[in-house]
Amino acid sequence: MISMRNVSKIYVPNKPPALDECTVEIAQGEFVFLVGHSGSGKSTFIRLLLRELLPTKGQIVVAGQDLTKMKNWKVPFLRRNIGCVFQDFKLLPNKTTYENIAFALEVIGRSKHVIRTQVPEVLRLVGLEEKMESYPDELSGGEQQRVSIARAFVNRPPLLLADEPTGNLDPATSLGIMSLLNRINKTGTTVLVATHDREMVDSMRKRVIALEGGKVIRDQDRGVYGYGD
């Protein structure tokens, strides 16, 4: 699903690189945590996979496509295959739950019929059928994150990226979000979660890739967050 070979990203020449010679293989259907301190390169990692950035060096293949050779106009079609969830939810405040999710389908040209069947389905999956007509500011943080996961997943992408999805949430709510991501992973979707939520990572016992100073320092199946801090 994801294949990174010797990828480096240098934002400012002659400064330490954000990513340094990273080589990572993630197979289809895997659930992977990407852990590390702030500034360790997690966000750069995610943005490279979305092709918001191009690597300074190395090769990145996502869903069978070489991002370093991809034409600009093809990028939107790559992103239709990648669901994306962020710490700040990125919901539109003037749209209801239903409309926020429908928007993601509308703008890639799905028909009204498809929207009418897929949106309620994904709302059931995230457990928000009852909140269909609510606006984001009427929802709790956990509920808003569920809406944003529903929006990321409504198009059934083979890959779901989550950048600190529980960063703004309390531990109990975070657990709910993680089990939702786990459920989505069970449908066959590859899930990559960037986080520094130690308890979460330790309790889930999934593959863990640890970054530090832009380098992969550990890659461990059924791993934990780390030792010491």
């Binding site: 979305l50 106009w73 939107p76 079609f77 790559l78 992103r79 239709r80 295959n81 990648i82 994306c84 990125k90 539109l92 928007f103 993601a104 509308e106 703008v107 890639i108 040209g109 799905r110 028909s111 009204k112 929006r151 990321a152 198009n155």
Partner: protein
Amino acid sequence: MSTAMAINFGYFVKESVVSFRRNWVMSLGAIITIYLSLLLVGVSLGSGMLLGQVIESFEDKVSVRLFLKDGAPAEQVDAMQAELLANEMVDTVVYTTKEQALEDFKKRLMQDSPEVIEQLASNPLPASLDIDLKDPRNVSTVVDQIKASENFIAVADRPDDPSKSLEYGQEVVEKLFTVTAIIRLVSIVFVAMLAVISLIFINNAIRIAIYARRKEIAIMRLVGASNWFIRTPFLLEGVLESLVGALLAIGTLSILYLYVLPKLSELMAFLPLTMSSGDAIQVSLVLMFAGIFMGAGGAMFAMRRYLRV
């Protein structure tokens, strides 16, 4: 595919109308500048057409008239006529007799009191050769050639000063050409300036529309909306704004055309101030397309700078 396109089209129209309402102040500014510049384009196009007609009517009147002395020998007049006809710049030469000249004079100026003419003991008007040129701009060349001709001196009405026997509207034509050239230049400069200002206004309106929708745009990019899908509403908004401006300009010009122009041509009956409805429609179409062009251009310009996709 066709249903998807239909859905998209509805979506685009909805989006651009919503955006239009959201920043109506900027949109209104854009519409008004487009309106004013297109109005000016329309006025200068229309007046250009009218002026063209006026000039043409003058050009028709610019023939050289060569007055003949009474009793000029017929063979010399014939020779003069033949010489003129041989000239490449000359179109036609018509011989007007003294009687004909008097008749024309009566018709033109003395319609109300023909008895004034009846009082005359003899006919004071000279016979003449009326020369029409192929291109009125050659008038001075032809006149110089005639002055140099021996035949001319032989038949001229006033042998003491033969040049007084020639009558032509050289100055009128030259002045008209200068005036139209100046008017054209001034209106081109004005229209160009207004076009630039309109583009800036459209550019600003679209920039603000993009800014107002930056969250939507970020999400659209995230979920993989194609570039043209993100751009089309803004393009449509620019075109919509300038189309409204164009329609207002066309409306104003129609009022001028239907109510003011007839009054004007009544006031200045001696000038041919009329415009066919075909010409009027042509001007409208030009304005419409110029409007669409400016709207799309301004929006495209703004998107290149503020909407990187």
